[in-house]
């Protein structure tokens, strides 16, 4: 899928997307939302709220029981899963680097699936993009730290020049410092490459600081949809307020500590 490096990401739409499991559990309950091309969306909710399931309906790792997902007006169900996924970057908490392949082979895997042979230059560019030294190309994944591994994960997801990035708790397993650095670095990449990004997180502070727009899910339903500014102003509704209250209270307590010192 050749596209210019400053590709504009596609728009996205959920139309009454529902996922019901065999036991009768509703993981996602009639979610509808329109997402503009090039926006950075945070999908926030507590564990089990259905946010990851909703995200995976986009690249068909989960097939909805009802409703549909459209990318740039095109239903995802009309493309074969493996073709669809090659046009979408996917980064998730457990990273999933292939342990038997070098960093370079991991990054180039999507290119190799498309039959490309000459991948060395592209791998070097991608390593630059995620701020890793080029000599990492020949290393094995287990020789890297967690943060470095997730940078490789991001590079792998970007290799095929996707317009759309799906990130499932991408920085959840990293230490706070690395997490903050990587979050900010990725936001810069998002802007530079003109991506459309949907990031699942349970951390409201991260969502507020990185995203243009925050969707809040609870028990499979979309309960709030607002900009970070609006959420902080208390315009997101009851459930969103409860989530925003946590980082706010922490910030207040930290300030109080500083004041005392």
């Amino acid at each position: 899928m050749p596209a210019p490096s400053s590709a504009n990401g596609p728009s996205l739409a959920f139309e009454a997307v529902t996922k019901r499991y065999d036991g009768g559990t509703m993981a996602v309950d009639h979610v509808s939302a329109e997402i503009d091309a090039g926006s950075f969306i945070a999908l926030v909710g507590s564990s089990g709220s259905g946010k990851s399931t909703l995200l995976k309906t986009i690249n068909r790792l989960v097939e909805p029981s009802e409703g549909r997902v459209l990318i740039a007006g095109e239903p995802v169900a009309s493309t074969e899963p493996h073709r669809l996924r090659r046009s979408i970057g996917y980064v998730f908490q457990n990273i999933g680097l292939f342990p038997h392949m070098t960093v370079a082979e991991n990054i180039a895997i999507a290119l190799r699936l498309d039959g490309e042979r000459e991948t060395a230059d592209r791998v070097a560019d991608l390593l630059d993009l995620v701020d890793l030294p080029r000599e990492f190309a020949g290393r094995m994944p287990d020789a890297l730290s967690g943060g470095q591994q997730q940078r490789v994960g991001v590079a792998r997801a970007l290799a095929a020049r996707p317009g759309l990035m799906l990130m499932d708790e991408p920085f959840g397993a990293l230490d706070p410092v690395t997490r903050d650095q990587l979050g900010a670095a990725f936001r810069r990449l998002h802007d530079r490459l003109g991506l459309t990004t949907i990031m699942v997180t349970h951390d409201m502070a991260e969502a507020l600081l990185l995203a243009d727009r925050v969707l809040v899910m609870q028990a499979g339903r979309l309960v709030a949809d607002a900009t970070p500014r609006a959420l902080l102003a208390g315009e997101g509704g009851e459930e969103a307020d409860a989530l925003v209250a946590v980082p706010r209270a922490q910030a207040d307590r930290l300030r109080a500590l500083e004041g005392r010192a």
Partner: protein, 548 residues
């Protein structure tokens, strides 16, 4: 022991080749079945339960029994499709061993696939791999080391269990072990064991080399291991080419005791002299050997008239010896086109024997005398006698009721009698040990035991083979029981044992001499003559050793 051991080792190369081919084929067949099954099982829990359950069930069947079960299975399958499926030899061995190889491969492959880090599988899906790409690029390389461990286990098991294929007539290193056990020739047993163990060790080491090569991603190591294995298989294939072109191969069958081994070699030597290429299938059970002949899996063997009369034909009367032979010959020709070429001249009947001193002390001379004291005595029998109709006939005719019965392999049966663990044994009348151990054979006044003339049988394909008939005719009526006893004793005795092949050569030299009729009371004399012979060879060998 080095001399006999090295002469036993001389038989190893041919047997090793067919052992390697059998084990390799079984392992490949096992892989061909278990790998697709493992992939399917890893994707479907229901299939996993069924396939692993089946493989475990197979594993609980003793391998000897599994091999034996394939004989009737293939026989009925062959009957179903109108013949053509061999029920003995390579095919049943291959199937049984392949089934045996399933479990370790299947279990390791499924465990490996299910144990893959879910994140890696999710990543493979996430980057857009098809199911086949996921298998090839991610699952196969990651599972390979675990899978190789399973293949190693399967290979070692298969090589070990392949020794048992001797029992269904497939030549393997087991031929040495079984023949050695029957004739108490420990050099043969040792040669078979050492060769099989070395083979297993080498194969395991080469597979281990491949396994470590995969783990460490060292291609040369993988290719070296695989190359050496393939070279070994190619080498084992080599002996097949000339014989495949040679054409007229005749398979000679033998049951599992010395006399049968010796007669098979006598027949073999004659057929080789007549220009046939000869193969031996030794150690066949008395129940399967006739079927093997009728279906053409073997071409010629020696059976005993009474055995066929009672077991195959189901008679419980005991007419005269010539009547039984005529009856068997007629029945064999009518029912399965098998030809009885004739009787060899001696009888190998079941004979109840006791230690001479014990028989004298207890005043037992006949089966009727025995019946009176049986409740205080232990009967030692060979492995099958107590299940045979002959035993039921004798038991019912005399009302025999023993305090205890114990089964032994024939060699151990004679030892049990000597040591007093058994008081009476079901001996064989042509056995040299009867005279050598001074045993008293009990008379059968009611004639309850049928005649057991040794008869030469030809398969339907060779029933009209004039050249074969001409080559074997000189054996008809040519072997007196004394000569057979002496030949058997050469193999069965404990000191200065001869191989069946050597005994066969000895027997052939005797046949070339004109046969002098002897009075039947001279059994003891003729065996002590053999003993004198033994002593003289013994002395000669000692003298030779001293000289060297």
């Amino acid at each position: 022991m080095t001399g006999p051991f090295w002469s036993a080792m001389a038989r190893v190369p041919d047997l090793l080749a067919s052992h390697v081919l059998l084990a390799a084929s079984a392992l490949l067949a096992g892989l061909a079945i278990s790998l697709p099954l493992a992939i399917w099982s890893a994707r479907n829990a229901h299939v996993a339960r069924l396939s692993l359950g089946f493989a475990s069930l197979v594993q609980t069947i003793p391998s000897l029994a599994l091999l034996a079960l394939f004989y009737p299975l293939l026989l009925s399958l062959s009957a179903l499709v109108g013949g053509g499926i061999p029920a003995l030899g390579f095919l049943p061995s291959l199937l049984a061993l392949a089934l045996y190889a399933l479990l370790p491969i299947l279990r390791n492959a499924v465990t490996g696939l299910l144990g893959l880090d879910p994140a890696i599988v999710e990543a493979a899906d996430g980057v857009g791999m098809t199911s086949w790409q996921k298998l090839r690029l991610v699952e196969a390389p990651l599972v390979a080391p675990v899978l190789m461990a399973g293949i190693r286990t399967a290979a070692v098991w298969t090589i070990g269990a392949a020794t048992l294929s001797t029992t269904v007539g497939q030549p393997s290193l087991g031929d040495l072990i079984f023949a050695g056990l029957q004739t108490q020739n420990w050099a043969l047993v040792l040669a078979g064991c050492v060769a099989a163990a070395l083979l297993a060790l080498i194969v395991d080491a080469l597979l281990g080399l491949i396994e470590r090569g995969i783990k460490a991603r060292r291609r040369w190591q993988v290719w070296t291991g695989a190359g050496l294995l393939l070279a070994g298989i190619a080498l084992a294939l080599a002996p097949l080419w000339p014989s495949a072109g040679g054409g007229r191969t005749v398979t000679i069958g033998a049951k599992n005791f010395s006399e049968q081994y010796i007669l098979a070699r006598v027949i073999g030597h004659r057929l080789e002299a007549a220009g046939y290429h000869v193969r031996y299938r030794e150690g066949l059970g008395s129940a399967v050997i006739y079927q093997a002949l009728a279906s053409g899996d073997i071409d010629v063997y020696v059976d005993y008239s009474g055995t066929l009369w009672t077991n195959q034909m189901g008679h419980d009367d005991t007419p005269s010896r010539p009547e039984i032979i005529a009856g068997v010959a007629d029945w064999a020709r009518r029912t399965s086109s098998v030809r009885v070429l004739g009787a060899l001249g001696f009888e190998n009947a079941y004979a109840f024997a006791m230690r001479g001193d014990v028989a004298k002390r207890r005043h037992i001379a006949t089966l009727a005398d025995l019946a009176l004291q049986a409740p205080q005595l232990t009967l030692g029998s060979d492995l099958e006698f107590l299940d045979r109709p002959e035993w039921r006939a004798v038991r019912d005719a005399y009302g025999l009721r023993f305090a205890d019965t114990q089964r032994f392999t024939p060699s151990f049966m004679y030892r049990a009698l000597a040591s007093g663990r058994a008081d009476v044994i079901s001996a064989f009348s042509s056995d040299g040990r009867i005279a050598a151990q001074h045993l008293a054979v009990l008379r059968d006044p009611k004639g309850a035991i049928p005649g057991y003339d040794a008869i030469l049988m030809l398969s339907p394909a060779h029933a009209d083979d004039a050249r074969m008939a001409a080559a074997l005719k000189p054996l008809i009526g040519a072997i007196p029981v004394e000569t057979m006893r002496q030949a058997n004793y050469l193999v069965d005795r404990d000191v200065d044992k001869q191989s069946p092949d050597q005994a066969a050569t000895w027997l052939e030299r005797r046949l070339d001499q004109p046969i002098r009729p002897r009075p039947s009371s001279s059994i003891t004399n003729s065996v002590s003559a053999t003993n004198a012979n033994i002593t003289s060879t013994h002395i000669r060998q000692k003298a030779e050793k001293r000289r060297s």
